[in-house]
């Protein structure tokens, strides 16, 4: 049974290495984030398998849970950061002295393209 668990762990590791292709080559940054997320989720499973092999699961569960939580937060933060970086920065709204000409209008970036059509 132990050999079986080791084999499963090695197989997960190999598949994670394969997913790394998407992280290295992903045409857009968000593809890379997606690949990292997949690898991170599987790392939590791998940690627990290692814990089972070394017969200290109750210790490794804490590590796995902390890892899963931080991986979740990392993914959301990276996605948010990418989203903000890829949008044009809003001009600062000045509220100081009134300008002699018309006040500058703040232009909001267009957020939705029409990529949708009804099924």
């Amino acid at each position: 049974m132990e050999q079986f668990l080791i084999a499963i762990g090695v197989a997960i590791l190999l598949l994670m290495l394969t997913s790394l292709y998407r992280v290295v080559r992903g045409p857009t940054v968000i593809d890379r984030i997606l690949g990292v997320n997949v690898i991170g989720t599987k790392t939590a499973v791998l940690i627990i398998i290692i814990g089972t092999l070394s017969a200290r699961v109750e210790m490794f569960i804490d590590i796995a849970l902390a890892y899963a939580l931080l991986n979740f937060i990392t993914t959301i933060a990276a996605a948010r950061f990418y989203q903000r970086q890829s949008q044009p920065v809003l001009p600062e709204v000045e509220e100081a002295e009134p300008a002699p000409s018309a006040p500058p209008t703040v232009e909001h970036p267009k957020t939705t393209g029409e990529g949708s059509h009804a099924a």
Binding site: E58, G115, S116, H117, A118, A119
Partner: protein, 170 residues
């Protein structure tokens, strides 16, 4: 009231995690749960107005829904695995983004619906703008399952969620 329930849930979680039942650790657990239920008093049950009985009914209905949802998750995984391992995958996918308005009122019900859509075959929730859902469907069948007969009418899943949280008919 919400703070008390939060405290009980948090303390139960602490006991399960800790597994030590001596006075010192239980005391630490009481302090930790009290601190968290004060810090996050408006998080776990925010916008929740039901009575205790209503909440229990909600949980019971949700468990029945969870059984159905788990079966859908299995179907979804078989579907996507078949799709990505099939040699003719490129011919079998025809992605599109569909849009529909939901009848659900509360944010939490919308959250449950959105995550259910993400977990079920062939669809991923892309965006929620107020009551409008944008859903990416990998092929037209998946889109049809979601939206029912007419686009805009509630699909099967939406009826389930409405039944859980708003007592509608299933």
């Amino acid at each position: 009231m919400a703070a008390v329930v939060t405290f009980c849930v948090m303390f139960a979680f602490w006991v399960v995690m800790s597994g030590k039942l001596d006075l010192f650790h239980l005391g630490m657990g009481v302090m930790a749960s009290a601190l968290v239920s004060w810090l996050s008093r408006d998080l776990l049950f925010s916008g929740h107005t039901k009575t205790l009985g209503g909440t229990l009914g909600e949980i019971g209905r949700f468990l029945r829904y969870a059984g159905w949802l788990f079966w859908q998750v299995v179907l979804a995984n078989v579907h996507i695995a078949g799709l990505s391992l099939s040699p003719r995958a490129m011919e079998r996918i025809d992605p599109r983004i569909i849009r529909f308005k939901t009848v659900l009122k509360t944010d939490f019900a919308r959250f449950v619906l959105a995550n259910s859509i993400t977990l079920t075959p062939g669809t991923v929730t892309v965006r929620i703008q107020d009551d409008t859902f944008y859903v990416h469907a990998i092929n037209p069948q998946a889109a049809g399952d979601l939206a029912g007969d007419a686009v805009g009418g509630p699909g099967e899943m939406e009826r389930w969620v409405a039944w859980i949280f708003e007592g509608g008919k299933r």
